[in-house]
């Protein structure tokens, strides 16, 4: 759901950019202590994988398509703050090099996907995993956290579209949340598969 330029007005774009700057500052501050030499290559690999996976649009019923967002995938491996930085780097490269997502609305895309969706999805994952205390529940948490991260990001996007006067909320919200509730199932399945794969071949990465 990379928003192109033109969908959001300047005040909403600016407000989102400010929110994103705050979120990024928080993520960097929280990470500073943990910016171990070991973490950065893993972040690079995750960013490369998420970039690659975001090229892979899968068809969804009704003539639309979706691709992995990857926020919860990254958060499960390296934590939500590092995940925010990973997705932000991916979004900046997509915007500047590949014209995917607008430059003026970059702050909105970062806020929706790298910050809000990722943090809420991770919180849901962590709560379910902590509640269940078993591998099976962890899998449930990964799937559901990934699913909700997409729905939350789409809901925020609908709100920004409505605040910008592009489309009324009563139209945007059910449409965006509805189609992304379906795309989110793909997010849940891919995230679950990749986390399970990492758990098989490199379990020490998931501690």
């Amino acid at each position: 759901m990379h928003i192109p330029d033109g969908f959001l007005n300047l005040p909403v774009s600016g407000g989102c950019a400010l929110l994103s700057a705050g979120g990024l500052a928080l993520a960097i501050a929280r990470l500073k202590k943990r910016f171990a030499d070991r973490l950065i290559p893993v972040m690079g690999v995750l960013a490369a994988f998420i970039f690659a996976a975001q090229m892979f649009n899968f068809p969804v019923a009704g003539g639309t398509s979706g691709h992995l967002m990857g926020g919860v995938l990254a958060a499960v491996v390296v934590g939500p703050m590092a995940a925010t930085l990973i997705l932000t780097v991916v979004l900046i490269v997509q915007c500047l090099v590949f014209q995917d997502g607008g430059l003026i609305v970059l702050g909105a895309n970062v806020f929706n996907m790298a910050i809000l969706g990722t943090w809420v999805g991770w919180a849901i994952f962590a709560s379910i995993a902590r509640l269940g205390r078993s591998t099976a529940w962890r899998h449930v948490g990964v799937f559901f956290g990934a699913w909700i991260s997409v729905v939350v990001a789409a809901t925020a996007c609908a709100g920004e579209l409505a605040l910008s006067g592009t489309v009324p909320l009563r139209v945007a919200l059910p449409a965006m949340a509805g189609v992304h509730a379906v795309i989110g199932i793909g997010e849940g399945i891919i995230t679950w598969l990749v986390v399970a794969f990492i758990g098989k071949v490199k379990p020490e990465m998931l501690t």
Binding site: H2, I40, G44, A48, A52, F56, V93, L103, V179
Partner: protein
């Protein structure tokens, strides 16, 4: 992550890019679809604020969509991973100058 696992992981990324170049769905994504259905798709800007070198994940001078997409994707993977790699080198330099280790 040791060097060997990084190389394997990046090879997996390139495989995903290749699969995407061959099989990715051309249907509009969720937001585009909503924009078409509810009629605000035309509010998207015609021209980008700044011109991107590789718009739509393609190299303009390669005719084959598969190779064009694969090359553009490989460049993207390299840029994204390279960002963190350079950051790591900078971080290492700073860490070694403050602690005298490494």
């Amino acid at each position: 992550m040791n060097r060997r696992s990084i190389v394997i992981a990046l090879a997996i990324c390139l495989a995903v890019v290749a699969l995407a170049s061959a099989f990715a769905s051309a249907f509009p994504d969720g937001l585009e679809w909503v924009a078409e259905q509810t009629g605000f798709i035309e509010s998207a800007s015609e021209a980008p604020v700044i011109a991107s070198p590789l718009p739509d994940y393609s190299l303009p001078f390669i005719a084959s969509p598969f190779w064009s997409g694969l090359s553009a994707g490989a460049i993207g993977v390299a840029i994204v991973f390279g960002f963190f790699w350079i950051f790591r080198l900078l971080f290492r330099g700073r860490a070694s100058s403050t602690t005298g280790q490494e």
